[in-house]
Subunit: 544 residues, 2 copies
């Protein structure tokens, strides 16, 4: 085969991103919100600290391929680890600080982390678990004050950097297929599973997401990255920012509406990125207490379905929120719901309420009974995806090999794809309700219920039924002071669904249980249903 | 070494771009300007024709790695070849239709083209050369009418497609490092040299150029690609358009101001891309004859230095033209001169008048006498570049191996790079003038001369001088009706240059000789000087 005569051995790696940050964007900034306000540092200063950190990792004996854990919020030091750890050839393992204690222990042990970097404010979370964690040689604590008690032999991050000496660190040659970072899923069943990102996958994801129809990130942006750095590389935003010279605004642990609104106002954020619950809290704060968010032109929201209500709320402030879809196994972004060219009004909304259009380089198919279903916007089935930032296996876990279907990842999401590459999710495979031999989409019911003015949020689960096998149960959180009868809600649904799809059972609950990353945790609702802990109000089924 | 567990074997190839065009953008269009007006066709229809063309290539016996030549303007059929030829594993060799006859013969023979696709309007250019061309098995003529005489056994492109049968062609597996296309330099010395692009290099170039700070191309754009498809893949624009779903507007052979302005107005182009001479002709037409170009928001201009006058002319129409720098050996774009964030007025102009900021993934250094010079905006030397779309060798030509310096390409351009990654070109290495042991930049003199209202264009070359070794000779084309004395022009230069840098010799010429792609061809001027064919007016040298 005739090979091209280009520099095809130029490696797409994180050290190349680090070099760019230093050679092109030394005057741009990274801003961390601290207790006493935003703290500014230039990329130039960060670059020097990354060199120090790289030398410090060498001194700590971190070998190529070894895992280095982080247990930290979104802040400057975490960003330094994002660049330095993969650049010396080690693997950055971002531990989700919101996991349950036994999961934290499990993943640090499973990843075989050798050094763990911990925010001082999070030491109290880790300290009680230390006895169950094996193999960590060094605990490094990141903060400005004295090191809190609780981690054996803990080293100060700032001391480590101060001792590491000056000068540019010469990163080793790295193959783009080497492992760069590791993140565990926060799945609702079984143990968390590790996704081991290569340098190549991160490089291509970060570059593609900066395309104009992606995030459209540019050097003039001031990006508020609310999505946590301990979860799927914060959607790759730290790397995209370093590639483009965007100023990166980091909220630290301050994820409530008030501090976020303040940070946006002081720092004139232009883009925001976060999960629906956090963006919802921010919007609520701004609507109730005011705050100048006029600098913001748009945002990306994902991790769970984004309601039209949330997007319309932001539109009132001139902010266009686009929903995105993806998962830990896909680095994570697969789609962004930017409406197709030339559409406005309800047509544009129809596009915005999908999961979005497939990103360049991501390919998808719909598994059907006989091969792939057509991409006609109607046929549904489990979505399978492939592309340069899609996982091919889990780290140290062969049990899930059926997820990886001959080069395609089974997403577990049920969807239709239209002829324009827009993906319309109808359900998680395991959230479908099978009633009388037909499938009912819980997500579609939830979305329509959420449009009712009395409904704050709604989760629909399957309820065992003798006659129909399963029937939908709508678990609804009402707005304060609203008390609609179940029939009112069912009547609200009626125009949009077949009669047999309508729920006749409703449970009014205080809140929908959530996973550590804010997704609906339906397994808790199912357990409550099984234990008769849900108070169910029934309406007469609609007669056929 | 620990490898990542991602789909790192997903190949970045042109068939993946072709699949995207069909699965996401079937309703977008490609528009070719024909004699009787713009001709529209959807990407869906193009996709079907690409499948037919792929089958036709198989039938013609095109083997993997074999070269398939094109001799064509920017039009829909050429676009089909851009997708189909690399996707079947063959190599698209775009022959520059403006080369001198002996060069055309040389490169078709050197590339060993086996099939050549020719626009019917260009058959008269090729026909007289056929006897000197060896190894071409099939000539395929593209057009709507009968096949012109002159190519032995010529086949009609449309007949070929009609006979190729329906249905989606299943592209073979292609490694991203395989050769995809071939383009020869139009250098001003020696034989043209072939650059053999890999799929990977094209994929990464096309993706990166769509970043917001690159071309910022989006699905809502209507891109007028004036830069020829026979030259460096038309800056990769056809592939970027297919990746993003931008509508592609193709002028065919109609590169004069009038038809371009008409195409922009009818088709509401949003972006334009071309070399300075063509954009200059377009501007001149619009300023003299009017025409609605209000749909255009911006453009990219490269291939030669872009004057402030040209950019200011477009600004008057609300069009922001950014200059870009690159070469055949770099696929081609290395930089885009988008001013740094927060600058306006003269500061922004200072950035816009550089070659631009290095693209993500492109790295550069300045060769100095003792290693690399600092990137301080002052130190100059030959720029060397590396990156995934930089050539590593010439095709079938070992003679130029000194161009490739241990993984870095010697660009032949002299420049300074500043701490923000902006490249300021001062000269081609071979265009510097060495006077009294010091270097004089011909480009800086030319740029300043071009700012004088009486000067249409100016080329400065070295003139042998007994005392100083070389002195600058300014070859100047005057605006109609202007007759400034040489001293007036020298006085115009005086505030910006050291006295010893000022030319004291001027030649007033009718036009600056140009290469086939419109660059100043100084070797012709040097030959005219050597043959005493230039009439030189001297002014008294400035006394020190």
């Amino acid at each position: 085969m005739l090979q091209g005569l280009m520099q095809d051995d130029f490696q797409l790696t994180i050290p190349a991103i680090a070099r760019r940050l230093q050679s092109c964007y030394s005057d741009r900034e990274i801003v961390t919100l601290r207790e006493d306000g935003p703290d500014h540092v230039t990329y130039e200063a960060v670059g020097e600290r990354v060199s120090r950190l790289a030398r410090a990792l060498d001194r700590l004996g971190v070998a190529p391929g070894e895992r280095v854990g982080t247990f930290a919020w979104n802040n400057q030091r975490h960003f330094e680890l994002y660049l330095a750890v993969p650049s010396v050839g080690a693997v950055l393992h971002t531990v989700n600080v919101r996991l349950f204690p036994e999961q934290i222990v499990y993943i640090i042990n499973h990843a075989e982390d050798r050094v763990v970097f911990v925010d001082d404010s999070l030491v109290p979370v880790l300290a009680p678990l230390v006895d169950q964690i094996v193999g960590v040689r060094h605990w490094v604590v990141m903060g400005d004050g004295p090191i809190p008690e609780g981690l054996p032999g803990a080293i100060s991050y700032e001391d480590l950097l101060a001792d590491a000496g000056e000068g540019v660190y010469d990163f080793p040659e790295i193959d783009e297929r080497q492992a760069a970072s590791l993140c565990y899923t926060s799945g609702t069943t079984g143990n968390p599973k590790g996704v081991l990102y290569s340098h190549r996958s991160i490089a291509l994801h970060s570059t593609t997401m900066c395309m104009a129809d992606g995030l459209g990130l540019s050097a003039s942006d001031r990006l508020l990255a609310i999505v946590p750095m301990f979860h799927v590389n914060a959607w790759g935003l730290p790397y995209s920012a370093a590639l483009t010279g965007a100023t990166l605004l980091m909220p630290g642990p301050h994820l409530q509406g008030e501090p976020l609104a303040r940070l946006i106002e002081i720092e004139e954020a232009t883009l925001i990125a976060g999960v629906p619950t956090v963006l919802s809290g921010l919007l609520e704060h701004v609507e109730q207490h005011g705050g100048d968010v006029s600098s913001v032109r748009g945002g990306i929201c994902g991790g769970a379905a984004v309601t039209r209500g949330l997007m319309e709320g932001y539109e009132r402030h001139g902010i266009s929120i686009l929903q995105a879809w993806g998962m830990t196994e896909t680095a994570p972004l697969l789609t962004i719901a930017r409406p197709a060219t030339g559409l406005d009004g309800e047509e544009a909304w129809a596009d915005r309420l999908t999961a979005g259009r497939l990103s360049p380089w991501v390919e998808a198919r719909i598994a059907g009974d006989d091969g792939a279903e057509p991409h006609d916007g109607e046929a549904t089935g489990e979505v399978e995806v492939r592309g340069p930032w899609v996982a091919s296996a889990y780290f140290g876990d062969e049990s899930q090999s059926d997820k990886f279907n001959g080069g395609w990842l089974r997403t577990g999401d049920i969807a239709a794809i239209d002829e324009r590459g827009f993906v319309r999710l109808t359900d998680r495979a395991k959230d479908l309700i099978k009633s009388g031999g037909e499938w009912i989409s819980s997500v579609e019911l939830e979305n329509e219920l959420a449009c009712h003015p009395s409904v704050r949020e709604a989760a629909v689960i399957a309820m065992p039924d003798e006659r129909w096998s399963e029937r939908p149960l709508a678990c609804v959180v009402l707005e304060d002071g609203h008390t609609p009868a179940p029939k009112v809600l069912r009547d609200h649904l009626a125009p949009s669904f077949a009669r047999w799809q309508l729920p006749s059972s409703f449970a009014f609950i205080d809140e929908v249980p959530k996973t550590s990353v804010g997704k609906f945790d339906k397994k808790v609702l199912r357990a409550q249903l099984a234990e008769d802990e849900l108070e169910i109000a029934s309406v007469e089924p609609v007669k056929s």
